[in-house]
Amino acid sequence: MGILINKNTRVLVQGITGHEGSFHTAQMKEFGTDVAGGVTPGKGGSEVFGIPVFDSVKEAVEEVDPDATVVFVPPRFTADAIFEAIDSEIELIVCITEGVPVHDMMRICAYLEGSSSRLIGPNCPGITTPGGSKAGIMPNPIHLPGNIGLVSRSGTLTYEIIDLLSKGGLGQSTSVGIGGDPIIGTSFVEILNLFEEDPATHAVVLVGEIGGTAEQDAIDFIEAMSKPVIAYVVGVSAPPGKTMGHAGAIVSKGGGTAREKIQAFESAGIMVGNSPEDIVNKLKNIVII
């Protein structure tokens, strides 16, 4: 039933007492997530919506044994929070924080190798398995349980696509936002691999952006997949070389325009949608066939 998280996943929230952290903790609880605890250094012993708050991840692990953690701490402290989660051997780390320095992320990714943790993000909306659990910030009402897997580099654009899928009757097995930054913990390929192995997923939507070559890197894997994949890439009208909000949305010097990515998908015979509506329509054809 979906990938990465399910209704039994015990979720920790790092930065639970902050503005964003507490808002989304409430949202996650409402969605049905088992939020087992939270961490805010110096606020150990208190509670947020009845959830125990700890000073450190280590204490949280000893007391409430979480399987996953969602990181909301500000960019200045994000790297340390992730290192703490890795050292505490939390299996799944979902980093929501936007604005984490790239050099911090490079160090973290090198540190992750050989560890027992998987990092999703940073600068991502997290993971939702409809009818199961949510570890992240996607709006609650848009999801519908089903068999479409979704993996995306975007945030709000992902919400719109999920919303349209649900309204079109196409439920999701799991939706994963891997984040829009140049350096991220988990790639398209790794998520596609999980969807390929997940019996509950029948088709996959991949949402890409300008910048980098993560989309092209996924092509070989998609070609070997047994399940249909439909891609959507935004940023066709973005002027080259301009920063587009995400550090990840810079057109890198060596390629990485949306048009190049779309062409690469099409040359490999992978379906490409040109709008959220188009994705839904094309998916309906596949799913009916």
Partner: protein
């Protein structure tokens, strides 16, 4: 953020990477004074754009008189839409040999990559395409930093006889790269002249996400982008007439793409970021509408932490007269819709629809 050549060179110099003697001028006549001291000089337009040389923004002068003339020719010039307001006037170094060294981030390898080539001065990407074997690459583990054997490899490639000086440059460039949270730190060309090495050009791009711990004066090319950044938002001016205000960069790009798909042209990119409140939205509206070309404004919000009711209140209380096309979804969507309908404003239901309606509205104006 990109650093100006002269700012990057100041940092290089501080770290002991030799750069030609020189100074920054804002008045062409000052170029003469510097040339009087330095002799043969190079006069270089200080703009954050590539291709300055081809655009005529880099000239040399043998005498103070010539320096003033050339400086006058460059000052005020427009290079890729940017007006030249500052010139770097520096000692002209005749290169015996031009090389390239640079460090950037390899997104796929998730680590810095050191790049070196025995040819420099021209576009490194051209060399990379035509003769990839001429480009040396070595990935650096971000936890250990550059290893001595890697430094040595670069030094042996660029000049065995000069390996001590080159090793020194390589180590310093890597220090600059890590100390300043660089996305790129580059010397192109690195020249050898009379037995010494100089960074003839210097390029540094700083990770915007690191600016909380790096001390760089924000020097934006345009006011609206600067204003947006001050408020934690991201704005990029474009040359169309449909203003855009969206939360999330991906959704913002999708909005631009769909405007073009419907035959319209966006006037800007704007990401108001997650958690924008009423005041933030009001500021964003002011920024977008400050562009005189804007005929219609799209507001496209899919709220998470951003609440639709706050957005709606900002819209309802707006002071601008440019027509709006609005789409609000997500957190407190119903409340937002109610506030707007109380004010007689209708809403589109998707990005597709908001783009289509804006283009239609733009045509009728």
């Amino acid at each position: 953020m990109d650093l100006y050549e002269h700012d990057a060179k100041r940092i290089f110099s501080k770290y002991g990477i030799p750069v030609p003697a020189g100074d920054l001028v804002t008045d062409a006549r000052q170029a003469g004074e510097i040339a009087a001291k330095l002799g043969h000089v190079a006069i270089k337009a200080q703009v954050l754009a590539g291709g300055r040389g081809k655009a005529g923004g880099i000239l040399t002068a043998a005498t103070p008189q010539e320096a003033v003339q050339k400086a006058e020719r460059i000052m005020g010039m427009s290079i890729k839409g940017l007006t030249v307001k500052k010139l770097l006037v520096e000692e002209y170094k005749k290169p015996e040999k031009e090389m390239y060294i640079g460090i950037t981030i390899d997104r796929k390898a998730r680590s810095p990559v050191f790049i070196a080539a025995t040819e420099g001065g021209v576009d490194i990407e051209e060399i990379a395409k035509s003769s990839p074997e001429k480009i040396f690459r070595t990935h650096i583990n971000p936890l250990t930093g550059i290893h001595d054997y890697q430094v040595r490899s670069v030094a042996y490639l660029l000049g065995r006889a000069d390996s001590a000086s080159i090793s020194n440059l390589v180590r310093k460039l890597y220090m600059i790269f890590t100390d300043h949270d660089c996305m790129l730190a580059e010397i192109n060309p690195l020249v050898r002249t009379s037995g010494a090495f100089y960074a003839l050009d210097a390029k540094m791009v700083i990770d915007d996400n690191s600016l909380f711990r790096q001390e760089f004066a924000q020097e934006e090319e345009d006011e609206l982008s600067a204003l947006a950044k001050q408020h934690g938002m991201s704005y990029v001016g474009l040359d169309g007439d449909i203003g855009c205000m969206v939360n999330g960069a991906g959704l913002a790009m999708a909005t631009l793409d769909m405007i073009e798909q419907h035959g319209g042209r966006p006037a800007n990119f704007m990401d108001v970021r997650a958690g924008a409140d009423e005041e933030q939205i009001r500021t964003a509206l002011q920024i977008v509408s400050a562009n005189k070309n804007v005929k219609v404004i799209i507001i496209n919000i899919f709220g998470g932490l951003t609440r639709c009711d706050e957005v709606a209140r900002a819209i309802a209380g707006r002071e601008i007269k440019i027509p709006l096309v609005i789409r609000l979804a997500g957190t407190h969507e119903e409340e937002g819709r109610k506030i707007l309908s109380d004010h007689g404003i209708s809403m589109a239901m998707s990005t597709q629809e908001v783009a289509r309606r804006a283009v239609e509205l733009g045509h009728t104006h």
